[in-house]
């Protein structure tokens, strides 16, 4: 008997895409069966193939979630986006107050007075990543019906807000980097939450 275990991480992430029960069960069942069929003969390659297949089926599971979305669920997902955004804003404001306080004590100026160096831009991007991860984590935590789509919705709303507030105000390269960092951070936060809850049981 081979010791290679089924790629449960991929399975949990696919389940978190919120596809309908029948569709999700059929797809995940097929992936598990294919993995079991190949495990003996292919060894570690079976797991790699399973991960590759998981990436291929993800858009279909997301499409199924979207297809089964009903108007009455709009309120649910809106409240998920709103609550996780408020949480991220509270975190952002708290961080801003803390950093401003430290800067005022040590340098006699706040964030607005710091010259726009590459280091400063890097720190701002890191800040965005922290905000995004937190928003994504909270969205996946409270949007249990579809954790990863909830995370994607939060990311979409934040992209809109960032483009609206940053367009023409900051250099376009920085805006693009900031938006990319936000999306990556949000998705990372959602993924961490899904994997944590899977490990917890």
């Amino acid at each position: 008997m081979s010791e290679i275990s089924a790629p449960r991480t991929a399975e949990r992430l696919l389940e978190a895409l919120g596809a309908g029960g029948d569709f999700c069960d059929s797809v995940l069942g097929d992936l598990a069966e294919e993995f079991e069929n190949r495990r003996e003969s292919d060894g570690p390659r079976a797991a790699r193939r399973c991960y590759r297949e998981s990436v291929r089926v993800a858009p279909y599971l997301l499409h199924d979630w979207l297809r089964n979305l009903r108007w009455r669920q709009l309120g649910y997902f809106s409240s998920v986006v709103l609550f996780s955004s408020v949480c991220a804003i509270v975190l952002d404001v708290s961080l801003r107050l803390g950093v401003n306080g430290v800067l005022l004590l040590t340098k006699g100026t706040d964030l607005g007075g710091i010259p726009p160096t590459a280091l400063f831009a890097g720190l701002m991007l890191l800040w965005t990543a922290v905000d995004g991860s937190f928003a994504g984590y909270v969205a996946a935590r409270i949007g249990r019906k579809a954790p990863l789509p909830s995370t994607l919705l939060v990311a979409a709303v934040w992209i809109g807000l960032m483009l609206r507030s940053g367009w023409g105000v900051v250099p376009s390269w920085f805006l693009a980097l900031n938006v990319t960092t936000m999306v990556a951070g949000t998705l990372a936060g959602g993924t961490i939450r899904v994997l944590r809850s899977a490990r917890a049981g």
Partner: protein, 111 residues
């Protein structure tokens, strides 16, 4: 009539379901299509197509008992309905009509 039209992938999957009578589920259909067309379809694409075919009334599905090697999940097996069989015959007639007379052009040496 638009709802009863068959796309290329829909027809290909419907034919696989007909061929695999009684054993038609995502993975088996995928293997069958890979062997016949050389294309490795994603099971997601196959189930999406099967759902469309079921909505059009060309196939019906039933759940089997849970299978251990599927992580305790059951299989969803498909079979062609009467409407599906009629759609296959119609598609075959249409294909014959469309292909008629093409042989002389693509194989000019053929007597």
């Amino acid at each position: 009539m638009a709802a009863t039209n068959l796309g290329m992938l829909e027809l290909t999957v419907l034919l696989a379901v007909a061929r695999l009578s009684g054993e038609a589920y995502g993975l088996a259909i995928r293997r069958d299509l890979a062997a016949r067309t050389g294309r490795d379809y994603s099971v997601g694409a196959i189930y999406t197509t099967l759902d469309r075919l079921e909505a059009k009334g060309f196939v019906r599905s039933r759940r089997t008992a849970p299978v251990a090697k599927r992580g305790g999940r059951s299989r969803r097996e498909f079979e062609v309905t009467g409407a599906g069989a009629r759609a296959i015959r119609r598609a075959e007639r249409t294909a014959r009509g469309v292909w008629a007379g093409v042989g002389n052009v693509v194989n000019p040496e053929t007597p």
